[in-house]
């Protein structure tokens, strides 16, 4: 448990707190961020403390960074004996410089009266931690030979495992205690960085090398305009970057999807027999429906008249559905005078199929958006969503011999007469010619 905390929990905690802490401090308290140099109060000893310490630690840090970033190349270099020995000697020399520098700095803080005014407890904590860390490093370098060489095979994979979010403590678990302590010390230093004078590490002014010598800040209106323009340009660049990032991400996701489909296509996943049967059944049903529809269409293309119903089957309460020449639903009723009434059942609002039940006031209802249509005239009720009346459909009634008894065109003009006596034996047809005429 302790092991897990020291080698996984602490590093992540330290990195997280360091990043969040630095950002927080730089934004919240930029006035407090400073190197807090004390050269002004005491310069003579500082020279012999600050210079060795900083140059030493920069060299050491560079060494650590190289072993972390290019382990392979570094290892092959370190297999050259004289190079390995020189690197180790240089490292130990730099470590000694660090120790001397820290010692002078520590001593100076303790003994110079003026400095004590600017010294806080945190300064001693930081200095002590650094001294301990450097001393441990020296112990590792001296006690476990050729650290420059073996660290690439052990510590580097561990740190990389942390970086790639797949922590692997197997290599460090069995390390000697000084090495483990040295690593813990490093995480601790990272942890306290944002809250102590170590914050000056994030202010290293590298940009000084590249900036122009003079800096003039304008704040008058014309320059303001320029500043706004610059800001807008910057912002549009930021928007562009955001959009590009968004598009890129979308592209990646899409291609992941496409690749997935492609992969599955070539993978030909096996389907269970039942599933397969169901699938085939569904497909067959769909095909049948399509075939039926096509059949109806074909019939309407060929035939002049299409049978709707026998007259005896019709009544005034519930309409009978049929399909008209335009492949639209229609409804057939029988009027009080015994003559058939044929209406389109396609609602003139959004094309739903109108219901066939006639209510007390002789109307049928479109259930989609509640339009009532009068079955005699086809007119919708006032205020209904549907504005136009349902179309009338032309028909012809023939007796059992097939001779024409009566007709009605789509405009409503009637011919013939329906005899009550033979009415029950007659059949109702819709007529192409009369419909088209309308």
């Amino acid at each position: 448990m302790l092991e897990l905390f020291a080698f996984v929990g602490l590093p992540y905690m330290a990195i997280l707190i360091c990043i969040v802490g630095v950002v927080w401090r730089l934004r919240k308290d930029p006035y407090g961020v400073t190197s807090l140099s004390s050269q002004f109060l005491e310069g003579k000893q500082l020279r012999w403390g600050s210079l060795p310490w900083h140059f030493g630690i920069l060299l050491i840090f560079a060494g650590h960074l190289v072993a972390f970033l290019i382990p392979g190349m570094w290892q092959s270099l370190m297999s050259v004996p004289w190079l390995l020995v020189s690197v180790e000697v240089l490292g130990i020399a730099a470590t000694l410089l660090c120790l001397i520098g820290l010692g002078v700095l520590f001593f100076r803080r303790l003994t110079t009266g003026k400095l004590q005014k600017t010294t806080k407890l945190a300064d001693f904590v930081v200095t002590s931690l650094l001294i301990a860390q450097v001393a441990l490093g020296l112990m590792v370098a001296g006690g476990y030979r050729w650290g420059a060489s073996w660290s690439t095979g052990t510590l580097t994979p561990y740190v990389w495992s942390l970086v790639t979010l797949s922590p692997d403590v197997s290599v460090v678990r069995d390390m000697p205690l000084p090495i483990q302590l040295h690593m813990t010390g490093a995480w601790l230093i990272l942890l306290i960085l944002p809250f102590t004078r170590l914050i000056h590490m994030v202010s290293v002014p590298i940009h000084y090398l590249f900036r122009s010598p003079q800096k003039v800040v304008w704040s008058n209106p014309r320059r303001h305009e320029q500043a706004v323009t610059a800001r807008v340009t910057q912002e549009s660049r930021r928007h562009f970057l955001k959009a590009a990032f968004g598009l890129g991400t979308a592209g990646v996701l899409l291609s992941v999807g496409v690749l997935d489909k492609l992969g599955r296509f070539f993978q030909m996943p096996g389907m269970h027999k039942d599933e397969e049967a169901n699938l085939l059944e569904t497909r067959l049903r769909r095909l049948q429906l399509t075939a039926e529809e096509k059949e109806l269409e074909l019939e309407r293309m060929r035939a002049e008249e299409i049978f709707v119903a026998r007259l005896s089957e019709l009544n005034g309460q519930a309409g009978k559905y049929f399909i008209d020449y335009a492949m639209r639903p229609g409804l057939a009723f029988k009027g009080e005078d015994g003559w058939p009434m044929l209406l389109s059942a396609k609602c003139t609002h959004l094309g739903c199929t109108v219901g066939n039940q006639v209510d007390a006031s002789g109307r049928i209802l479109c259930p989609c958006h509640v339009s009532y249509f009068d079955i005699k005239t086809g007119m919708p009720n006032p205020g209904a969503p549907a504005k136009a009346p349902l179309d009338k459909i032309a028909w012809v009634v023939r007796d059992q011999n097939g001779s024409e008894v009566a007709t009605e065109s789509a405009r409503g003009s009637r011919t013939g007469r329906i005899d009550v006596a033979i009415a029950d034996t007659c059949s109702l047809y819709i007529v192409k010619s009369l419909t088209l005429e309308a």
Binding site: T34, Q39, K117, V204, V216, V217, S219, R222, H224
Partner: protein, 494 residues
């Protein structure tokens, strides 16, 4: 042509009485804070003297200002770019507390709280840094009025140009002379402090030329402290940030003269706008030492020139600013009359504070008469001056004596002219000859007299409206910052 405006200054040294009122006004307003006790954004030095900090003019020691590489290329004396980064850890050219002085106060409480005893209680001096008893050995004006001359005046850096014999003469008791030199930040047009700042915290305001340090960006690397040849940037050891004269910009922005100007007893200070061509700064500051004063005058533009006005307007300089530039007393002293000279132009920072060199300590001794009125040698006293022209030239014209001489001659001619008018013991044709030889006219002499001797406050301080209400906040949004302006510690340093 890239015309910038600068609120610039003239100090008329003949009028300075060395009272330090300006220094105290500044101290009370700005530097009466922990860590800033030792700072004197405005100080008054006695010359000859070593100044504050000790021997600040010694650029071999402090490496301030610019140098010419191969006699052509301007570069910082204190550091190269890479060298600047290496000096972060320890800057060998930075003055330490010992070069200034350890600030102190007195233990006044002891006067009230001391236990009863035989002796009168005293207020002993205590350090403002450690709070412990302090033996005072040096102060910010320890060499005031030539006190401690063997230690201070004798070590004046500007004596380097003088021969040993000339130096000895200066300390003959009969001809001892001194002058006062009030100093604030010069708000240079080619500031070496800005160029040296690793963090980029220092900047020059385009519309009024004030050089400021953004306290939120400063990281206390102290490169500016050594790069400023005038040592007018101070390191605050409590906050860990550097600070400098801000030309009281919160006062300027509300139409008031800076505190040191406002409080000046001798009315020696003039404030006005100069227009200059920023495109030519580098080339002007790269000329040879003797030509530097003239090169600087040359890039200060005539505010009545139409091209200049057009270019200034293109840069967003307001009509009010241009109007102030036309009325500027500084323009008259510096360019029109060529009386006021920059201090140590050889540092090549193009300082925008100018000094009218003092005539009184220069006036020679002629027999029993302090002034030489011999008919044929009006200006001969300059040659026999008590403070040598060489010495003055070292301070005000990079060693070019003719620049200083012509300024002093003109000052002298104005006096002859007024003497003729008011005392009446000089003949008019002779005075006219004097004026001619000094390169001036009766009209100009009258004008010089009026602005020098009896100017009203509005003639001395021609303050343009800075139009803060139109400016974008350089540090924070104006709405957010309303009710608070100026400089101060907003939070404790960590």
């Amino acid at each position: 042509m890239d015309i910038r405006a600068q609120v610039s200054m003239v100090f008329h040294l003949d009028k300075c009485i060395g009272c330090h009122t300006c220094s105290v006004a500044c101290k009370n307003v700005w530097t009466d804070r922990p860590g800033a006790e030792y700072m004197w954004w405005n100080n008054v030095e006695t010359k000859p003297g070593t100044g504050f900090p000790h021997r600040w003019e010694d650029q071999d020691r402090y490496q301030g200002g610019w140098k010419l590489r191969n006699g052509k290329q301007l570069e910082l004396k204190s550091q190269s770019k890479l060298g600047g980064l290496l000096k972060l850890f320890y800057n060998p050219n930075q003055p330490g507390l010992e070069d200034y002085y350890e600030p102190w106060t007195y233990e006044y409480e002891n006067l009230f709280d001391a236990p009863e005893g035989d002796d009168q209680p005293t207020a002993i001096p205590i350090s403002q840094i450690t709070g412990e008893e302090l033996k005072i050995e040096r102060g910010p004006n320890w060499d005031d009025d030539l006190s401690g001359s063997p230690k201070y005046a004798a070590n004046d850096v500007n004596y380097d140009a003088l021969s040993e014999e000339e130096r000895q003469q200066l300390f003959e008791i009969q001809r001892v002379a001194f002058m006062y030199l009030p100093r604030i930040c010069n708000h240079c047009a080619n500031p070496s402090c800005v160029a040296s700042c690793p963090s980029g915290a220092l900047y020059k305001r385009g519309e009024d030329g004030i050089v400021l340090i953004n306290q939120d960006v400063c990281r206390g690397w102290r490169a500016c402290v050594s790069a400023c040849p005038y040592k007018k940037i101070y390191y605050n050891w409590v906050t860990g940030k550097s600070e400098k004269c801000i030309l009281c910009y919160p006062r300027l922005e509300t139409g008031q003269a800076p505190a040191c100007f406002h409080s000046c007893v001798g009315r020696i200070r003039y404030l006005g706008v100069l227009l200059y061509d920023a495109d030519r700064i580098t080339s002007a500051m790269s000329t040879a030492d003797p030509l530097l004063v003239e090169a600087q005058r040359d890039i200060i533009c005539d505010p009545n020139d139409e091209n200049v006005i057009a270019s200034a307007k293109a840069n967003g300089i307001s009509d009010e600013f241009l109007e102030a530039a036309r009325k500027s007393p500084v323009y008259k002293y510096v360019v029109k009359w060529k009386l006021a000279l920059p201090l140590h132009i050889e540092y090549r920072t193009m300082p925008m504070l100018f000094y009218v060199p003092p005539l009184l300590p220069v006036m020679g001794k002629d027999g029993d008469q302090p002034y030489d009125h011999a008919e044929e040698s009006f200006f001969s006293s300059l040659d026999k001056s008590r403070l040598s022209i060489q010495y003055m030239a070292r301070m005000f014209s990079a060693g070019n004596e003719s620049v200083v001489t012509s300024s002093l001659r003109k000052l002298m001619a104005v006096r002859y002219y007024k003497r003729m008018q008011q005392v009446g013991d000089l003949q008019e044709d002779k005075v006219k000859r004097i004026l001619r030889e000094a390169g001036t006219t009766p009209e100009e002499a009258e004008e010089i007299y009026l602005l020098t001797a009896v100017p009203t406050v509005h003639k001395r301080y021609v303050l343009p409206p800075i139009q803060r209400e139109e400016a974008i906040g350089t540090s924070c949004d104006v709405q957010d910052c309303k009710g608070s302006c100026g400089f101060g510690s907003r939070s404790e340093a960590k």
